[in-house]
């Protein structure tokens, strides 16, 4: 029988920080996030058996690759550990966690550190926007296009509009909810920004239309940030619980996961959308696989979701792909308050990528950390009351790599 894979906690940096303005490099960010994670969990560096790093484009933003090796600089006691770096665009952090989980399930290691890291404010917005284009099929979809990603997701907007019709005010509401949630999160990038639905509905210099229809308020942020979680085998988690006076039943573990990759070219996705019940069939598959592995029939037993809202339209899609509504009816969950912070299934109580920020390779790890915090009742001001089970959806590229996790405890 496979070991359950537990999350023993972790840490995220303050996503409002601009590390380039502080004159700091990627090693400083890694040192700080590890310091925070070891401090809050009281896990010692010497007990870590392997490290998986999620990072999208260190080579481009910082001229630094080989990021798997950098955590070892934190403490000489870690030298010699097996480490690796994983890249799957915005899903890099989740892929690192999938690999760590597989190693624990296989009985290879008992305690693994998963670290997501991205430093993005090292370049100007246009250059960074171009780098992000490498998450799509750059040669065919992004070369020579300014800010290619909002334009790609504008095409998802088109697909929805064509098949079901779409009102912009529903997207504006998604944006407003994420910003509002982020105000409760002391680590979010936008916690002190001015924002509301009226502003999201406005256009002009302070809310530029970036794509054809998507506006600045529909976009996630350019963010510097890192996050760490510790994954542990059942035996390691039991020892940890004993040492810290905890009940193993209260420690969150990975109940289910799904991982499905779609064709990278958006043209192919658009074709598939017309032939399937769900516009993003591979995203749907990652979700249903995770439900199946967790023994769930659907979203009824999920207390809250941390989803990928790189753009408001992505969250709009996630609502129905999670099964909160029928396909084409995501607007109903927005109008009837299901996804609100106090709704039946709050989406992104942390603020999501739009509110918390989106350090690309970190996001998947940050989502898992937030799911852990919600399930263990440690999310502080953004705690959703009574969370028993939380789901995450992390998407790489234009809904190309899809990773879902379901985190719960036995309490």
């Amino acid at each position: 029988m496979r070991s359950k894979v537990y999350i023993l906690g972790g840490y995220q940096t303050d996503f409002a920080r601009n590390w380039s303005r502080e004159g700091k490099g990627i090693q400083a960010m890694i040192n700080e996030v590890m310091d925070g994670a070891f401090t809050v969990t009281e896990i010692e560096p010497k007990d870590i058996q392997a490290i998986h790093v999620g990072n999208f484009a260190g080579e481009l933003y910082t001229m630094q690759a080989h990021l798997g090796s950098f955590p070892l600089n934190y403490d000489p006691v870690m030298r010699g550990l097996p480490t690796s770096r994983h890249e799957a665009a915005c899903a890099s952090g989740s892929i690192a966690a999938l690999m760590a989980r597989a190693e624990i399930e296989a009985g290879i290691y008992n305690l693994i550190m998963v670290l997501g890291v991205e430093l993005m404010k090292s370049v100007d917005a246009k250059t960074g926007g171009n780098f992000l284009g490498t998450a799509a099929w750059y040669e065919k979809e992004c070369r020579g296009i300014e800010f290619p990603f909002p334009k790609l997701f504008d095409r998802l907007y088109d697909v929805y509009d064509e098949l079901y019709g779409l009102k912009y005010e529903h997207l504006a509401q998604i944006s407003a909810i994420n910003y509002e949630n982020a105000k409760r999160n002391s680590k979010s990038q936008t916690r002190n920004w001015y924002m509301n639905k009226k502003h999201a509905c406005s256009t002009g210099d302070y809310n530029l239309t970036i794509g054809k229809r998507l506006r600045a308020t529909d976009c996630s942020q350019v963010t510097d940030g890192a996050a760490v979680i510790f994954l542990a085998s059942q035996s390691n988690a039991q020892n940890y619980a004993k040492k810290h006076g905890l009940q193993i039943e209260n420690i969150p573990y990975i109940q289910g996961w799904g991982h499905a990759t779609a064709p990278i070219h958006f043209d192919d996705k658009a074709e598939e959308a017309k032939e399937n019940e769900y516009i993003l069939p591979h995203t749907r598959r990652a979700i249903t696989d995770a439900y199946k592995r967790a023994g769930l029939n659907g979203p009824d037993e999920i207390s809250c979701i941390e989803t990928h809202d790189c753009f408001t339209i992505t969250e709009y899609a996630a609502i129905e792909h999670f099964g909160l509504t029928k396909p084409g009816e995501a607007w109903k969950a927005i109008e009837n308050g299901i996804i609100d912070f106090n709704g039946k299934c709050p989406i992104n109580p942390s603020g999501g990528l739009i509110g918390v920020g989106h350090p690309v390779g970190t996001t998947g790890t940050r989502q898992l950390l937030d799911a852990y915090l919600q399930v263990s009742d440690k999310a502080g001001d953004y705690q959703v009351p009574g969370v028993r089970r939380a789901a995450t959806l992390n998407i790489g590229g234009s809904a190309t790599t899809n990773v879902v996790h379901i985190i719960g405890s036995d309490s």
Binding site: E22, A28, M29, E32, N73, Y194, N196, Y206
Partner: protein, 428 residues
């Protein structure tokens, strides 16, 4: 008062009036921006809109002139005064406010130097009971610190309401400060800034800013900070503190003669592009620095010190402990001076507990104002990085810095409660 629905901003064209008023509007409160003319009031609205980066803010702000005070003040729940720093002018306005305001409405002043009790002197009892100092930092959109200056006529219920409202609705970081010149932030911050200006006369402007640069836990070097604040504003704050406060570092609040001459010659800092301040930029954007002895601007020499450059590299890579150990253990003349300032800042801050902030909050109030108001590494974070109170006391004794009792009595262990203070250590 149970809720704030409408606020009046007096002096809404000034930087602090418009931007502070904007913070109220951002919270969804209808704001009346009062000025001498509609044009000035509308200028204030533009500032507030720019700060919020949203045209939507206009819906919450209505331009007014002082002729409308009688008609509009009775509807306002909070009257936020930000007019010029002049006691008789403020008293004149407060007497008008007292005539027109409704009972129970809050009246606040942004004054950073005048006595709260003096300003309310001629006003009625209800006015006094609801009057206080509310001191935002500039720009309030980025700096969240908010000094609250209560006085003996304020009830506990009133104080609690104000603190909760400022924290939860206006999203401020409150620091309760005593009614003393410079309150907490300016008193401590400008002590260091002015002492740096005094040292610059002997050691040079560029050298002082290099030695006490951002790696010592501040967003900007000290003299560049004075340029940003404005030399005239610096002078007003320093002179006020020098006149009204006598403490162990009274000497350091004396305005240097050369700074007075710079002010006389309109060299006010960044706001005076033609005359400059400590620094000036040429048309080709070349940065020049002033020589305090000749008043001539000269080319930057870009001094370098091996240990400082090493400290910056440690900070760049996040090895903060190594950076602090180097500061502690370097004994060159340069580092003797650097430690004089750093340890002096810690010492001066701990001596002020109970004088500028209430004793019961310990160093935490001062920590909050220095980080959220000045973007400086708070004094208790320095103590932590130096290895705790005992180690810091030893360093002070070795450097002939007066040791505050408040520091001596502290137990060992982590002191600073501000999260991620490392962000104030800048490697540039």
């Amino acid at each position: 008062m149970t809720s704030i629905r409408k606020a009046a901003i007096l002096g809404a064209n000034g930087t602090m009036g418009s931007l502070s008023g904007g913070i109220f509007a951002q919270a969804g409160i209808t704001c009346l921006f009062f000025e001498r003319t509609f044009e000035e009031s509308k200028n204030g609205i533009e500032n507030a809109v720019k700060q919020a980066r949203s045209e939507v803010l206009r819906e919450y702000i209505i331009p007014k002139t002082y002729d409308d005070l009688e008609k509009d003040l009775p509807d306002c729940d909070w009257i936020f005064e930000a007019i010029a720093e002049n006691l008789s002018l403020k008293q004149e306005y407060f007497q008008k406010v007292d005539r027109f305001r409704k009972q129970g409405s809050i009246v606040s002043t942004t004054s950073s130097s005048l006595s709260i009790e003096d300003m309310a002197g001629e006003c009625g009892e209800d006015f006094k009971a609801h009057f206080l100092g509310v001191h935002f930092f500039n720009p309030p959109g980025k700096l969240l610190a908010n000094e609250l200056i209560f006085h003996q006529k304020n009830s506990e219920k009133f104080k609690t309401f104000i603190e909760e409202f400022c924290e939860k609705v206006l999203r401020r970081v409150n620091i309760v400060a005593c009614d003393r010149s410079g309150f907490a932030g300016n008193r401590i911050g400008f002590q260091l800034l002015n002492e740096a200006a005094l040292y610059a006369e002997k050691y040079g402007v560029e050298n002082i800013d290099y030695l006490l640069g951002p790696y010592t836990g501040r967003a900007l070097p000290p003299l560049a900070t004075i340029d940003l604040v404005g030399l005239d504003v610096h002078k007003a704050i320093i002179n006020n503190i020098f006149e009204h406060v006598k403490d162990e570092r009274h000497d350091s609040f004396k305005l240097p003669g050369y700074v007075q001459k710079m002010v006389d010659n309109k060299m006010l800092g960044r706001k005076s592009k033609t005359y400059g301040g400590f620094y000036r930029y040429t048309e080709n954007k070349e940065k020049l620095v002033i020589d305090p002895s000749s008043f001539e601007f000269k080319k930057m020499e870009n001094p370098k010190n091996d240990s400082i450059e090493k400290i910056k590299l440690y900070i760049h890579d996040g090895y903060y402990r190594k950076a602090f150990d180097l500061i502690k253990n370097e004994h060159s003349n340069e580092f003797t001076m650097i430690k004089h300032f750093i340890l002096g800042y810690i010492s001066y801050s701990f001596f002020r507990i109970g004088q500028v902030t209430p004793s019961e909050v310990g160093i935490h109030g001062i920590d909050r104002v220095m980080s959220y108001g000045f973007s400086w590494l708070p004094p208790s974070a320095w103590v932590d990085f130096f290895g705790g109170p005992g180690e810091t006391v030893k360093l002070m004794e070795r450097s002939d810095i007066p040791v505050p009792e408040h520091l001596k009595i502290l137990p060992e262990g982590k002191l600073c409660r501000i999260p991620e203070v490392t962000k104030y250590l800048i490697a540039n």
